[in-house]
């Protein structure tokens, strides 16, 4: 290793030799860097899972559609209702090819003794298949039978194994708020951070489950554009046709992005994640600084000797950066391994879509190198104490 690094740097790897000479300090430093990495990965993982779980329900819709929602609708599932009239008004526009209404409501499912899950229901028109992701086309049609549902295999607090074989020909019966329903298929959506699962039903079944809701007041409206129509222009023209400030018209993609941003910046959870990342970075910088500055302090006489020999400041900078980068590059891996373990454990316990992405791993790797380098540069200040004239 020394020979390899000597080739690489064109000088003896003094930083590397110094770090590895004091094994106890090295291990403490690596543990610290790994710990800070885990902190950052956990927060980024939760934030990523939050964004992912926001995006998953939107993915039920075809992404090139316009989503018409009530004015206060930062969050898809929290939207108030809007008049179905808007659908008919929109259809008048020459570039609108078709539309469908979506009804949403949340209810608690008592699936057994002491087992209750908060379920998000989507009421959809079974013949509106062109508006939904292709994989839903066939299952959606089977919802035309009354009191049938597509149930979420990722529902929390319920053993969903018995529903795995649910099929239109062999519905799996279950009770929901004193109604007998039949599962005719499954989806894998997951409740994310706001609920425990998502069930899809036909609009007719939806009104039976939620008698206070009316077909005249959907939660959202999906509009399909004529081929080649510019969504931004059509959205602007529609907005002018509707009474001012009563609706938001966005593409499904825009709505997804805006909700993710809202969850990350306006909701306490999102801010907690950002704060958590900051804490992780600070912990990392402080630990690396402690180790590197202790190392400089322990070698002040040796550094002063190097100064007397004629080494310049950039030599000392390169030694300390060498130490910082080695700490970061080694400490990262145990941090990554622990974080991966944490992700898989949390995902299997909670059905939250938390997983390692290559982009995140690479970003944290370089972030670690930068953070450790900052620590190194801060530790450089201790080098001023190395005064060669004091050596004699």
């Amino acid at each position: 290793m020394t020979a390899f690094l000597t080739r690489l740097f064109g000088r003896l790897p003094v930083g590397y030799l110094q770090l590895t000479h004091n094994r106890g300090r090295l291990l403490a430093a690596l543990a610290g860097v790994a710990f800070a990495n885990v902190l950052v990965f956990v927060q980024l993982g939760l934030a990523g899972a939050m964004a992912e779980s926001v995006a998953i329900p939107y993915r039920l819709f075809k992404p090139d559609l316009l989503l018409v929602s009530p004015a206060e609708s930062e969050v898809l599932s929290d939207a108030a209702t809007l008049p179905r009239q808007r659908l008919y008004q929109a259809m008048v526009h020459p570039d609108i090819k078709g539309g469908t209404s979506i009804y949403m409501a949340r209810a608690t499912w008592i699936s057994g003794r002491n087992a209750s899950s908060s379920i998000q229901f989507f009421g959809l028109a079974p013949d509106a298949t062109p508006f939904f992701q292709d994989a839903l086309a066939a299952p959606l049609v089977s919802l035309s039978l009354p009191d049938t549902a597509l149930v979420d295999t990722l529902t929390r607090f319920v053993d969903m194994q018995s529903y795995a074989k649910a099929h239109p020909e062999a519905p799996v019966p279950f009770e929901f708020q004193n109604r007998q329903l039949g599962a005719v298929g499954t989806v894998s959506i997951g409740g994310g951070f706001g609920g425990d699962g998502v069930f899809l039903v036909s609009d007719q079944t939806f009104f039976r489950l939620f008698p206070k809701r009316s077909s005249a007041t959907p939660s959202h409206i999906l509009l399909a554009l004529a081929p080649g129509a510019d969504p931004t222009r059509v959205a602007a023209e529609l907005a002018r046709a509707f009474p001012p400030d009563t609706v938001r018209i966005r593409t499904v993609t825009q709505a997804t992005g805006q909700e993710i941003r809202h969850q990350m910046t306006k909701r306490p959870t999102g801010l907690v994640f950002a704060f958590g990342v900051l804490i992780g970075v600070i912990v990392g910088i402080v630990i690396a600084y402690q180790v590197l500055s202790a190392d400089v302090a322990d070698h002040v006489r040796e550094y002063a000797t190097f100064k007397a020999m004629g080494f310049r400041q950039r030599f000392f900078v390169s030694i300390i950066l060498e130490e910082a980068i080695i700490l970061a590059a080694i400490g990262f891996w145990p941090g990554l391994a622990f974080s991966h373990l944490f992700y898989t454990t949390l995902a299997s316990l909670t059905n939250i879509p938390i997983f390692m992405t290559p982009e995140r791993a690479v970003a944290v790797f370089f972030g670690t190198i930068i953070a450790c380098s900052v620590s190194g540069l801060l530790a450089m200040r201790k080098l001023a104490a190395a005064e060669p004239a004091e050596l004699f």
Partner: protein, 231 residues
Amino acid sequence: MTDAAISVSGLDHFFGEGEARKQALFEVNLEVARGSLTILMGPSGSGKTTLLTLMGCLRAVQAGSIRLLDRELSSSDESLRIDMRRRLGFIFQAHNLHDSLTARQNVMMGLQVHGRGDPTRQALAVDHVLQRLGLGERLDYLPANLSGGQKQRVAIARALVSNPDIIFADEPTAALDAVSGLAAVQLFKDLGRARGTTTVMVTHDPRILDLADRVVTLEDGRIVNSRHAPV
């Protein structure tokens, strides 16, 4: 090029500020011939180390003049002083070896200050000087596994390896027993003579005085006696 490796004239030096300001050197004049071994003596606090650090470019000249290897050090900036230090060798009272570097690696640092060189040639030069100092069997030892005398010899090797024009040594034998101290000084006097190296050394060791070309005595910051050794 003049005959003098070092020529000091009218050198004053002060420590501290205001009330605490204290003069350590007064009007020091001194010429050190190339290739000579000059010994500085004098009582504790007489200014020997101060003079050595000024001549060795480790401190800025405040008043007076020092010409070192034909370069004027008064009014020199830190950058010139760092460049000059690369042409000098220092041997300190403490060996100041890097505890995580082997004997070889410590000596190698004395070459690497001059930048990338041919690694094979550098390794040969390092091994040669260590062998010359009797450390051929200890090349890959860490300082912790060397005796005091061996460590000091590694430090001497580090100072000699790059063929410095001048060596400054401040009580280099203080940490050694009498025999190995004398042997070490004899060694670098021989090496110096072979290479024409100029040496300025502070010592109290009377037996070393016999090896000197010249003995300069300081008292209270003034040179009181400068005696050339009988030839």
